[in-house]
């Protein structure tokens, strides 16, 4: 267990190091100069040079990289070229918004996936099962930005039931917060629910064929009780793995959904940062996303063993 943990920690550190170098390098070859963008069409070459000095972008790339990575070790993401604000708190602020969205999206996905997947497994090779499997196939085929546009078109523009976008922090006005969270969470969650439903269906199908379920039935439990008491917990192991991986997918999907719904989350921060060539900010956001993906994988591993004692022994 300890050996495995050390191994994984090493892998994590090496991945982070590689990721930081790649992120830095990709952004440095991106055409466009932050100083030029900040100064606009009226800028003289002298003003641009002065601004580059202020930003520190006139230094050699290796120096800039080491400076940045050194800061990261002590949690210092640097200062935004464009706003002059410290990047760390900015990212945390926006990350919170994105996490609300991702959390709500995941909730929607689970509410859809667990009953849908279980039902279609139980009704395997029967009309209801086929219909449900078909529905989830259609769901998978829709990109979430399209789901977002469709939801806005129907619910916000045609029926005028909910706002078309925007964001209100929960502490400011919980009702308005929920009203504005609902559509983007649905856009993100419906598709995700369709993806997850297929995993739920196939693991439940596997579990239904297991000996222990037959034993449970033999003990006199009804099929439904047997499934709920013994089946679903076993089915949950692979689903949780997928859930962890899909959380990372959701975080990335949120970038697009945030754009469509005008939500000031990490995604909009990233896109604005790229447009302004606010390179330190973009590097920071991407590193946070990379970190999130790697940490999620960790947590999945931990949960995995918690859910299934057999894996604990094997490790």
């Amino acid at each position: 267990m300890l050996v495995q943990l050390t191994k994984r920690t090493l892998v994590l550190l090496v991945s982070l190091g590689l990721a930081s170098a790649m992120v830095f390098w990709f952004l440095s070859v991106l055409p466009g100069d932050p100083a030029q963008v900040a100064l606009g069409t009226g800028a003289t070459p002298e003003a641009v040079a002065e601004m580059q000095e202020r930003f520190g972008t006139d230094r050699p790339l290796t120096v800039q990289y080491l400076d940045w990575i050194g800061g990261l070790f002590v949690g210092d993401f640097g200062v935004s070229y464009v706003t002059g604000a410290t990047i760390g708190p900015l990212i945390i602020d926006r990350l919170m918004v994105s996490l609300w969205l991702v959390g709500a999206g995941m909730l929607v996905a689970l509410v859809i996936a667990v009953p849908l997947g279980t039902l279609s497994a139980v009704h395997h090779r029967r009309p209801l099962g086929t219909v449900l499997a078909g529905v989830s196939q259609v769901g998978i085929a829709i990109p979430n930005f399209l789901a977002g546009i469709l939801l806005i078109g129907l619910v916000a523009v045609s029926w005028r039931l909910l706002p078309a976008g925007g964001w209100v922090p929960p502490a400011q006005d919980p009702i308005e917060f929920l009203r504005r969270l609902l559509l983007p969470a649905l856009a993100l969650g419906i598709i995700e629910g369709a993806v997850l439903a297929r995993y739920v269906r196939s693991t439940v199908l596997n579990v239904l064929r297991e000996d222990f379920l037959r034993t449970a039935r033999a003990k006199g439990l009804t099929p439904a009780r047997a499934l709920v008491r013994h089946g679903l917990r076993n089915a949950a192991v692979p689903v949780v793995t997928i859930l962890g991986l899909q959380l990372a997918v959701l975080l990335v999907g949120a970038v697009v959904v945030e754009r469509v719904f005008v939500i000031p989350g990490l995604g909009s921060l990233l896109l604005d940062g790229v447009a302004n060539r606010d390179l330190l900010l973009v590097q920071g956001v991407v590193m946070v996303l990379v970190l999130a993906v790697l940490v999620l994988n960790y947590l999945v591993d931990v949960l995995y063993t918690a859910l299934d004692p057999r894996l604990r022994a094997a490790a």
Binding site: A85, V240, V260, V262, S268, L307
Partner: protein, 531 residues
């Protein structure tokens, strides 16, 4: 079932963790980077605090509510500091509304007083005496006086980094005659200087109010910045200590939509009251057919220019440039680019400028004439590097131009560049292009035809002399010379001016008095009315 629930809860652990994180974050506002916190933590003598109670009540206001007004814009300000960031969105939100200048430009293009009750200009156009409004204070409580005028002007010369600041170089001295009288002396006569004082460089700052400009705006204006939620909105509240007439709307929320369709949708869903600038003209029909909305069309100062790089050999010959102008049917460009909204212009002058002259017939659409000219110039089978910013209007216009040029045998290969970053870098700074399309929104930017270092590298000594003389001379000479320059560059086909960008807005029934013409750099909220 209980066990199953627990399992699922285990799977949701991330969601709960993040929910907990956020709850902690909102309990302790000091942890957030929210710029509004800085505003709230000002000392007690800050008049902004008087409005804090109002803020709490208004916190619930979102979208189209009874008291406030919600206006949607496209580009979001990167910060609140327009002295170091060139972005047009900052003065659009803050100039006149939060920061007031001595003089501003009104809807008819006239210079009218704001903080200067009146002003006098010496006969030789070099000494300006500004007599200031009495009893004006900044939102930090400091009085506005001649010292503040001197401070603000000198600060532009010393600390501002944007290009526009160079227009203040001509100021030799600012003298504080008394508290309400500031005398500005120019190194040489300039007709443009007073005009540039209507732009952001004329904004008045408090000597003690410039420490955190990117997050905190301290001006004398009718509004205060209540909250700047990056990526989302700027909330303005009315300044209760405002020296002038209070604006009609107490709370105005400026909301930013990076996606033009999201902006239109917010309007359709009654979430905002006014679209400040329509970015997706193809979506306008949704508003045309709906009687909840009114489309307001005014003029802007934005000339959509098909720019020629005069450093390139192909453009040395006037006949080639003229041929391109004559090959283009600008009416159809307006149709594809702005859905038929927009006006033909024959030069770099918007019809709102006093020296405007109708030059649309100088090089009329005539493909046969264009072909003949090309042949005469020995430039048949011309190939052009047509580098276009990836903005909807520019791409649409470029495609129409491309097909019309193809009809006369010119092969213009479109190369889309990300705007602003890449376009600014490669076309504007490096001059690596033959032809481009961009909307030049700066007022009076015809003067750039007198600047051989500008990206189109137009080098015509006659134009340069006329412009220099105009700036030094009296008002009549100024207008006369500008009119002359407009004609010369049009006949010389220095560029092609595809059309004047329309200033399109959509308003609902709650708001009136919308300033239809986009003049100056600001979106003047003080003229809005309740209906």
């Amino acid at each position: 079932m209980a066990r199953f629930t627990r399992t699922i809860l285990g799977g949701l652990v991330f969601a709960l963790v993040l929910a907990a994180c956020d709850a902690g974050d909102t309990v302790d506002p000091d942890d957030t980077a929210d710029p509004a916190d800085d505003v709230d933590e000002e000392p007690d003598d800050d008049p902004a605090d008087d409005t804090d109670d109002v803020d709490e009540d208004e916190a619930d206001d979102n979208g189209a509510d009874v008291a406030g007004l919600s206006i949607g814009f496209a580009a979001e300000p990167a910060s609140l500091d327009f002295s170091t960031d060139d972005g047009a969105a900052i003065p659009e939100a803050l100039l006149v509304n939060v920061y007031e200048p001595l003089v501003k430009i009104d809807q008819d293009g006239e210079i009218v007083p704001v903080l200067a009750e009146s002003y006098e200009v010496s006969d030789d156009n070099t000494v300006y005496d500004f007599f200031l409004e009495e009893g004006v204070t900044f939102s930090n409580g400091d009085p506005f006086d001649a010292e503040a005028v001197a401070f603000s002007i000198e600060r532009v010369q010393e600390d501002w980094t944007i290009g526009l600041a160079s227009q203040m170089d001509i100021v030799e001295d600012v003298e504080v005659v008394d508290d309400l009288h500031a005398r500005v002396t120019l190194a040489e006569p300039s007709n443009n200087w007073l005009f540039s004082m209507t732009t952001r460089i004329g904004a008045m700052f408090s000597p003690d109010g410039v420490d955190g400009l990117d997050e905190e705006a301290i001006g004398t204006g009718p509004y205060l910045v209540d909250d700047f939620a990056r990526g989302d909105r700027i909330d303005l509240v009315s300044n209760e200590d405002y020296w002038g007439e209070a604006p009609e709307f107490d709370d105005v929320s400026l909301r930013y939509f990076a996606d033009p369709n999201a902006l239109n949708n917010a309007m359709l869903a009654d979430d905002i009251d006014l679209i400040g600038t329509v970015q997706a003209p193809e979506g306008l029909s949704q508003f045309e057919d709906d009687d909840r909305f009114e489309i307001i069309e005014g003029t802007s100062e934005g000339q959509v220019v098909l720019s020629f790089n005069h450093d390139r050999e192909v453009f040395e010959d006037q006949r080639v440039r003229q041929a391109i102008r004559q090959a283009i049917d600008r009416e159809s460009v307006i149709e594809t680019s702005w859905g038929g909204y927009g006006e033909l212009i024959g030069s770099m002058v918007p019809p709102t400028d006093p020296w405007y002259e109708d030059l649309t017939d100088v090089h009329p659409y005539d493909p046969q004439a264009a072909e003949a000219l090309l042949e005469e110039a020995g430039a048949a089978d011309l190939e052009l590097d047509f580098r276009v910013p990836n903005l909807p209007y520019a791409v649409n216009a470029a495609q129409t131009v491309q097909s019309q040029l193809a009809a006369v045998g010119i092969d213009a290969e479109i190369d889309l560049l990300e705007f602003p970053a890449v376009w600014l870098d490669e076309v504007f700074t490096e001059g690596d292009y033959d032809m481009s399309v961009i909307n030049h929104v700066e007022p009076r930017d015809i003067a750039q035809y007198g600047n051989p270092d500008f990206y189109w590298a137009y080098d015509n000594p006659e134009v340069q002399d006329l412009l220099a003389e105009a700036d030094r001379g009296d008002e009549e000479t100024f207008e006369e010379n500008y009119r002359e320059v407009a004609r010369i560059i049009s006949e010389d086909a220095a560029s092609d001016w595809l059309f004047l960008a329309p200033n399109l807005m959509v308003a609902n029934e709650r708001v009136g008095g919308v300033p239809e013409n986009n003049v100056g750099e600001m979106f003047d909220l003080t003229v809005l009315e309740r209906t």
